[in-house]
């Protein structure tokens, strides 16, 4: 067990951490009568002086991860119950480290070292037969002094029934046991199991098993194989030739490793460190699994971009490529599609994206709307399309008719138009005025007044320099499109 600090907690004030119920509290709060698992409202009433923080399990998991990794370095298979609590099967490790106490001491020592690195938190370590007994052994241990339980049934028999609450989540059952005069796990274990199963069903049976020391096995998490490859260079890579060679070699090494397990990546992370030790990282994606050439190209493009832009001052000292989104599936090729062209195009577009940034390569998708600006939902190429804000199949009465303007500014541009008797006569284009030869409109566009939009009129203006879509609102004219 590992207590997790909250960096955002006030340093001197008592703190209560809650979601629906109390999940943690400082000593002052617990002294006021608050207990873990107590409903939040009740705890706040008992400790009104405490600062209340909302529990953030994601952040807790992130902070707990170094602890899990440290334990996995010592004992390879770990079951993470939640942030702050892990179970570890030690049968094999006990022989390796020379006994349960030696193992527990070693784990405690490593955890102390972690505390020394200001990770925060103090470890409680318990060793017993089964996760349930080990959890309560840890709960009754002292910081830095692991508790190794040799008589698990005897240890359990002295525990209060409240120990079952976490495992069974059956408060009513525990209250019923107390009402029947059963207050410890030992007393519960002495009751006939058949009778408990008949009277209390599955929960009663589980409670009796736990009280009797009959526990489940630890279910450790799988350790994912590490397919990342990296290379360090004593002489920093400064020339593009050297970078290209390293990129190709590293990409091939990673894919060779993946082929053994029949996998191919759809996403790779490329990390380079400069002589200053500053890392640069970029993630590349591909709809098709990366081939050696495709991956080599991308690594090369990325490194070249960094080298040419001075992003890795002094040259590259370390390179790392790690795969993600692995798949063992090919892609169904369309009968009438030119898939080789598609793959080459994607490579070219990815290269353009490197030069221009992700917002430089875009794809549009039709969506509903009355103005040309509204009718295209833009998304970055290579990323999932954004959701339509407006339904494209809705009727959209009053929409600007086709043909659509081929040039549409992202925002309306101010346009100087001269009017005579409500009719447009001249348009200012740059430094010159062009007479309006003919026009159509106005077409009314009713704005959404509830969000502050004004009504507008649309005109199609034809001049000797082309045709324009013009919007007039609030007495001012704007350019909405050019029929180029």
């Amino acid at each position: 067990m590992w207590s997790l600090g909250r960096p955002d907690a006030p340093s001197d004030d008592p703190v209560l951490i809650v979601d629906d119920r109390v999940s943690a509290g400082t000593d002052e709060v617990l002294a006021a009568g608050v207990s873990l698992g107590m409903p939040r409202r009740e705890a706040e009433a008992l400790a009104p002086f405490a600062s209340v923080l909302i529990r953030d399990q994601g952040e807790e998991s992130r902070r707990f991860d170094p602890v899990v990794e440290m334990i996995e370095d010592l004992i390879p298979r770990v079951e993470v119950v939640g942030p702050g609590l892990v179970f570890v099967p030690v049968a094999g490790a006990v022989h390796f480290y020379g006994g349960e106490e030696a193992l527990a001491e070693r784990v405690a020592k490593e955890l102390d070292r972690l505390v020394g690195q200001a990770r925060g938190g103090n470890a409680l370590i318990g060793v017993a037969d089964g996760p349930f007994a080990a959890r309560w052994a840890a709960a009754t241990a002292e910081v830095g002094r692991p508790l190794v339980v040799t008589d698990t049934i005897g240890f359990l028999s002295r525990l209060d029934l409240v120990a079952l609450r976490e495992s069974l989540d059956a408060d009513e059952l525990i209250d019923t046991f107390r009402w029947l005069g059963v207050s410890t796990l030992g007393e519960l274990a002495r009751l006939p199991r058949d009778a408990l199963a008949t009277r209390f069903g599955n929960h009663g049976l589980m409670a009796h098993r736990l009280a009797s020391g009959e526990d489940r096995y630890v279910d450790p998490r799988e350790i994912p194989p590490d397919h990342a490859v990296d290379a360090s260079f004593e002489e920093p890579l400064e020339t593009l030739d050297a970078v290209a060679f390293a990129a190709r070699a590293l990409a091939e090494r990673m894919l060779r490793g993946l082929r053994v397990s029949g996998a191919a990546p759809h996403r790779v992370s490329i990390l380079a460190e400069s002589t200053t030790g500053e890392p640069r990282e970029r993630i590349w994606r591909s709809a098709d699994p990366f081939t050696e050439k495709a991956l080599s190209d991308r690594v090369w493009w990325q490194l070249r971009a960094w080298v040419e832009s001075g992003g890795v001052p002094g040259g590259i000292t370390r390179l790392r490529i790690s795969p993600a989104d692995l798949s063992d599936e090919g892609r169904q090729l369309g009968l009438l599609q030119d898939e080789s062209s598609r793959i080459e195009s994607e490579r070219a577009l990815a290269r353009a994206q490197t030069l221009l940034g992700p917002d430089g390569v875009l794809q549009g998708r039709a969506q509903g709307g009355r103005m040309p600006q509204e009718r295209v939902a833009w998304s970055r190429w290579g990323e999932p399309p954004v959701d339509q804000e407006r339904n494209v199949s809705a009727p959209w009465p009053g929409a600007t008719p086709s043909p659509s303007p081929a040039l549409v500014p992202p925002r309306l541009q101010p346009l100087e138009v001269e009017w005579e008797g409500g009719m447009p006569t001249r348009v200012r284009l740059g430094t010159r005025w062009e007479p309006v030869l003919t026009w159509s409109g106005p077409w009314r566009l009713t704005g959404r007044w509830w969000v502050g939009e004004q009504d507008a009129d649309r005109y199609q203006l034809v001049t000797s320099a082309g045709a324009f879509l013009c919007v007039v609102t609030g007495g001012r004219a704007f350019l909405a499109g050019v029929y180029d």
């Binding site: 070219a348 549009g364 043909p403 003919t438």
Partner: protein
Amino acid sequence: MGIEDVVLDPPLLDLENRDEGFLRLRPGWITELVGVPGTGLTRLGLRLLADLSQVSPVVALDTRCWISPQAAWETGVNPENLVIVRCDEPGVWPKVAAALLEGVRALYAEVPAGIKDQDLRRLAALARARKVAVAMRPMGMGLPAGVSHLRLRALGVTWEGADQGHGRLGKRRLVLEASGKGASGMTRRFEVEDEGSDVVRVVSDVVVGETRRAVG
């Protein structure tokens, strides 16, 4: 001056097919679209991508960041296969264009003013080597001699449908002049009708005397 002043010549043998051929991009060829803004060349350039977009991705290289894919979709470009690349920095433009020519099969590229002739010649060589079908729309001066195989110059455009407040813009008639190697060294003039759909009709062989501005 408008295309009302254009004199229609008697149609030549197989003229229609040949003129329609001017409106198709060919692998390894560069088609140059020349004309002042407003003559409808953006729409025409996007329309040239339509055929190839049915089988593979096509790209519009947009230097003004104003190109609307909706106009391209209306001309028959497959929405799934149209990618817009926005590049408003002339310094990067040659690199981006070269990167695209390395992989795509069809490209409509606006060429910003100030691009060196040397860069444009290199890009043309790359397009030939990679068999990319390219339409280029110079924003400043035209392309240097020898770069394009076919030069389509907009001579005039008229709109039908709008009339002093009534109706709406409907049909556009665009007169083009084709020249260069792709036109067998002859200067041909023809008229294109565009009604906002993906059907573009080549109407007739026409002759005009000189380059003019677009008119309404």
